[in-house]
């Protein structure tokens, strides 16, 4: 072993290129003869397309083509894994069902001219009545998408309604119920999406650069759409400038630039503008529901109920309908309580929703942890104590949502958080501030996350990319190759967008082989080179693909030990790897370097009799279960009751993601996750008018936080490894987001509860906070 590689805050291998502006993102790619695409998009929430006249656009010098539904209809609709409800046509076919739906594609010699072309396409629309409000849509007063019979295309339900009824009827039961909105969000990776296709009819193959979290899945889907076998489609996700779930879709634009390239015989690139991103890329969240806790005055929770609706948008895309299911998996959170949980999936005249950081789990934990807080307030008990009273204490834990949670120690985690934040001290400060007329609030939340998907058998339940023509389960794979010079190349099928896989994976392999981190190069994102992988999402890459890589490294190590033993005339069992080579245990002077081992390995005549040449191994890993990270968070806010302005003063996060490979990277993931959850609580909201117009379609009106809006975060960890993978790791990409929105809301309510406020819907913009206070005469 190379001492201290695992668990060490090694600076990232990714960074030298990125900090010098040398990292290459999709829009940085240029090809000879490359053309540029731009889209004509619907200005209506719902309308019939009466006619499209592209003649003026075609007359512009530099415009090569204008395509409409007639041209692409035979490619079929956009593929989706969970194909419940109407699928999206690649270009709107006779009707548009949300603002921003692509109606026509203009291809031109440069992007300015392409944009000129879109303005010259004359589309004649007949506006139709749209429906965007969830409850209104659920009534089916107006059908949002006429391809569906009802707007409610699915209902997810779990738990025991009878148990809830019994709790309700029990003596001394106290019931607290709050209707709450978990608002629709726009993911807003800073890099807009981009796709560049080069369809070479001579080779019968296509190369697609795309800003994607799922290059292999997109390759499968492009193959299926265009009738190509997987070995004739190469998808490359180069540097990807943030994803957060929004790049976890096969998108129509990826298919359309491929189509245009095939038709025109030239590479075609499209890069989204920000306003386009706000309507063409998936949205997240968008729930309305009533959460209820039934409990007793001593803090015991007898039952938890959620009755909710979730906004699907106009069309079903990749995982759209399955997002609430991910929420359902964590519905009871850290608590050993009966539940009844029901959520309707509702189609509206708005852009499609799908996975956005946390994907169903932030929504689920939001409702649970908000209503537990309300319950604690109702019975006058400290919110930390109510939580502790209902924790699961033994693991694995079978939950009321039918899940088995691998490992945890919730009490220790919460206690450590309260100590880190000096909870009692904070409560005293809060009391003192209150005497001075200052409204300080302290908010708490715990959470569990389910991630690390997943066990191969889940493919039977739909966890695969079969609909994309890629019938692989959610396995991970890793290929470890020691090169003839003794360096290592690791190839993985993940699709990172800033998570530091090159560094973390290098640490894993370095730890196994004793090759320095500097001498391990990790390659990903190119489906031609990397082994089958299903992408980076759902906090799964390390637990699944990382485990596979560790196993592959172990295979290499085993073989290398035999080679080294042969060279050193020792037993393979006595070979140890460290410091760039192998030595015989107890005889540090009997050493061979990795370069020497590699040289022999690539000269098979020097190998032990019968041993195959080369030094590489691939492994495919399917975990026994998902993993269940958990944690607890605490926020301190101050509310100006005169203006309603909220200042987040302090934020404490105590997360448990099992074992940690690189604490620096793990902390970074938490920071970013927190910012997004906090931002949901305080800033972001995709607002539509009743006709389906997005009123917050630019960063001017859709405020993602700046540095001035956030404090420095105070983090610590507990470490409860899992046994479902060999490294005992769980996943950290989404934890910060899942834990944070309700923590901030709970803090704000804590600050203003003395003025009679019990709930404020997110985002807690000054106007809403003031109105809530004002309504109560505060």
């Amino acid at each position: 072993m190379t001492a201290g590689v695992i668990g060490k805050a090694i600076r990232r291998k990714e960074d030298p290129a990125l900090i010098q502006g040398k990292g290459l993102y999709t829009d940085d790619m240029k090809m000879a003869g490359m053309l540029h695409a731009a889209f004509v998009r619907s200005p209506f929430g719902k309308a019939r397309i009466v006619g499209i006249d592209a003649s003026a656009a075609m007359a512009i010098e530099g415009v090569h083509a204008v395509y409409t539904a007639d041209d692409v209809r035979d490619l079929g609709p956009l593929l989706a894994q969970v194909a419940i409800g109407a699928l999206r046509p690649l270009l709107a076919d006779g009707v548009v069902n949300h603002v921003g739906e692509a109606v026509a594609m203009v291809v031109a010699s440069d992007r300015y001219i392409a944009q000129d072309g879109t303005k010259a396409v004359d589309v004649d629309y007949e506006p139709l009545e749209a429906v965007v409000d969830l409850e209104d849509a659920a009534s089916d007063r107006v059908i949002a998408n006429d391809s569906n019979e009802s707007n409610v295309i699915h209902v997810w339900e779990v738990g025991d309604a009878d148990a809830v009824a019994a709790a309700r009827a029990s003596e001394g039961a106290i019931e607290v119920s709050v209707k709450m909105i978990n608002q629709r969000l726009i993911p807003t990776a800073i890099e807009p999406r981009s796709a560049l296709a080069d369809y070479n009819a001579g080779y019968g193959s296509v190369t697609l650069y795309s800003s994607s979290q799922i290059p292999h899945a997109v390759a499968g889907a492009i193959g299926k759409t265009f009738g190509l076998t997987s070995n004739n489609v190469r998808v490359i996700a180069p540097e990807v400038g943030g994803g957060f779930g929004a790049k976890l879709n096969y998108y129509a634009e990826e298919a359309l630039v491929t189509f245009a390239s095939r038709e025109l015989g030239s590479p075609v690139k499209w890069t989204e503008t920000r306003r386009e991103a706000s309507v063409a890329t998936i949205h997240g969240r968008g729930w309305v529901g009533t959460a209820t806790i039934i409990g007793t005055s001593d803090g015991k929770i007898l039952a938890y109920e959620l009755d909710a609706l979730s906004d699907m948008g106009a069309y079903t895309q990749n995982f759209t309908v399955a997002i609430p299911l991910l929420g359902q998996y964590v519905a009871p959170g850290q608590y050993d309580i009966p539940i009844h949980w029901k959520i309707g999936c509702v189609v509206t005249n708005a852009p499609t929703t799908d996975a956005y950081r946390g994907a169903g789990r932030p929504e689920a934990i939001f409702y649970l942890e908000r209503i537990i807080d309300a319950f604690a307030r109702q019975i006058g008990m400290d919110p930390a104590d109510v939580r502790k009273k209902n924790f699961f204490e033994e693991f694995p834990a079978a939950t009321a949502a039918g899940m088995l949670m691998d490992s945890g120690d919730y009490r220790a985690n919460l206690d450590k958080l309260l100590e880190l934040a000096d909870y009692q001290g904070l409560r005293q400060k809060q009391e003192e501030a209150r005497k001075e007329g200052r409204n300080i609030g302290i908010g708490l939340s715990t959470y569990v996350e389910v991630c690390g998907f997943g066990p191969s058998a889940l493919a039977e339940g739909g966890f695969s990319w079969a609909a994309y023509g890629l019938p692989a389960a959610f396995n991970g794979s890793g290929l470890v190759r020691v090169n003839p010079d003794g360096t290592a190349t690791v190839m993985i099928g993940t699709g990172p967008s800033g998570q530091g896989h090159e560094t973390t994976w290098a640490q894993i392999v370095s730890d196994a082989l004793g090759i320095s981190v500097d001498n391990v190069q990790v390659r990903h994102g190119d489906t031609r080179d990397s082994p089958m992988g299903i992408g980076t999402f759902g906090s799964r890459s390390l637990a699944v693909d990382g485990s596979a890589t560790a196993q592959a490294a172990e295979k290499v190590r085993t073989k290398a030990a035999r080679v080294a033993a042969h060279m050193l005339e020792a037993s393979p069992d006595d070979i140890e790897f460290a410091d760039g080579g192998a030595h015989v245990a107890g005889s540090p002077d009997k050493t061979v370097t990795w370069a020497e081992i590699a040289e022999v390995s690539y000269q098979p005549h020097r190998l032990p009799e019968g041993m195959e040449g080369g030094m590489e191994a691939n492994a495919v890993f399917s975990p026994a279960n998902a993993t269940w990270p958990f944690g607890s968070h605490l926020a301190v806010v101050e509310v100006d009751d005169t203006t309603g302005d909220v200042v987040l003063m302090d934020y404490f996060a105590m997360d448990d993601c099992g074992n940690v490979i690189n604490p620096m990277i793990v902390d970074g993931q938490v920071h970013g996750g927190l910012a997004q959850g906090i931002s949901q609580a305080l800033f972001e909201h995709a607002i539509f008018d009743e006709d389906g117009n997005l009123l917050t379609g630019s960063l001017l009106d859709y405020p993602i936080p700046t540095a001035g809006d956030l404090p420095s975060f105070q983090l610590d960890r507990t470490t409860t490894p899992t046994d479902v993978n060999p490294m005992g790791v769980k996943g950290i990409g989404e934890a910060g987001t899942i834990g944070s929105a309700q923590t901030v809301v709970n803090a704000v309510i804590d600050a203003v509860a003395h003025m009679g406020v019990t709930h404020i819907d997110m985002p807690l913009r000054p106007k809403r906070v003031w109105q809530a206070i004002h309504r109560n005469g505060g």
Binding site: D116, R275, T642, T643, V647, T706, K767, H774
Partner: protein, 287 residues
């Protein structure tokens, strides 16, 4: 993201710019471009000709004159915000400029450009009004003075005629008893971003401590930056104490049509205007 095509001219002198403007229908004057270029990129506005005054010498200075401070057409927000003379004589403008946009925007956008753009929620117009500033508008046929309080006509509409360029903002120098302050709630909370409601207060305090004159500029809540005349009038002759401040605040939206938007209801924005009137007056009166 991609503006329509346009003609671009970058005159070397003001006279050249004015004659180009006079002879080119539909031309638009650009100084820093921080408001104009985003609108052109979104194709919300597509002038046929852009006259870039950025290369004209002599417009980029803040000059202290006998009775006023002259702020040239090319003075950037950051210059206005950091200039000690502006801070000494026109604190409200200094603060408003410092809370305009972000650092990069303040490096490039100009104080006069922000005036001419006449956004309903911009900061510096409120300060200009409260400070009793004068806009110097020049055309090829001459120069005229427009009182700041008459300059903001409607949303994105100033009193400049099509052939005029705002060449200079003149801010009266403070006398012994006069001082000012600007305060706001930004759209992101705190002072960040455009004003949900912003108030610039200017007061003149006599030797006996009573308020001898006052002006209050309001931004963010209505369709244009406006003088709150009744509120200011109510302060004059008072001791500037808590009660008179509160009374003035209560009148601040008199005569203003408060507009609901994404950032607040009529009720809330009216309330905010009152709150920030109190805060700005307190700061101004505290000196």
């Amino acid at each position: 993201m991609f503006p329509r095509q346009f003609e671009y001219v970058a005159p070397a002198s003001l006279d050249e710019a004015l004659s180009a403007l006079a002879s080119t229908p539909g031309a638009k004057v650009m100084s820093g471009g921080q408001s104009l270029i985003p609108m052109m990129k979104l194709r919300l506005f597509s002038p046929g000709t852009v006259i870039d005054i950025g290369r004209i010498d002599g417009l980029a200075d803040i000059v202290e004159k006998d009775d006023h401070i002259s702020i040239g057409a090319l003075v950037r927000h950051n210059q206005t915000a950091s200039d000690p003379t502006v801070a000494a004589h026109a604190k409200a403008l200094s603060q408003a400029a410092g809370w305009t946009g972000d650092h990069q925007v303040r490096n490039r956008g100009t104080t006069c450009g922000a005036m001419a753009h006449a956004d309903v929620a911009a900061d510096q117009p409120a300060a200009a009004i409260a400070l009793g500033a004068t806009m110097m508008a020049r055309s090829s046929s001459g120069q005229r003075e427009i009182a700041a309080s008459d300059f903001f006509v409607d949303a994105l509409t100033s009193a400049l005629s099509e052939d005029e360029i705002l060449v200079e903002l003149r801010v009266p120098k403070a006398s012994n008893g006069s001082r000012s302050a600007y305060d706001k709630l930004g759209r992101r909370g705190g002072h960040t971003d455009y004003a949900v409601a912003g108030i610039a207060a200017w007061v003149n305090v006599g030797d006996d401590g009573s308020v001898t004159d006052a002006r209050i500029g309001v931004t963010g809540v209505g369709t244009r930056p406006t003088l709150a005349e009744a509120a200011a009038a109510s302060l004059i002759g008072t001791d500037g104490g808590e009660e008179s401040i509160r009374a003035a605040a209560g009148l601040v939206t008199d005569g203003i049509t408060v507009i609901e938007d994404l950032y607040g209801s009529v009720e809330y924005k009216t309330h905010l205007a009152q709150v920030f009137t109190e805060r700005a007056l307190q700061q101004a009166l505290a000196g």
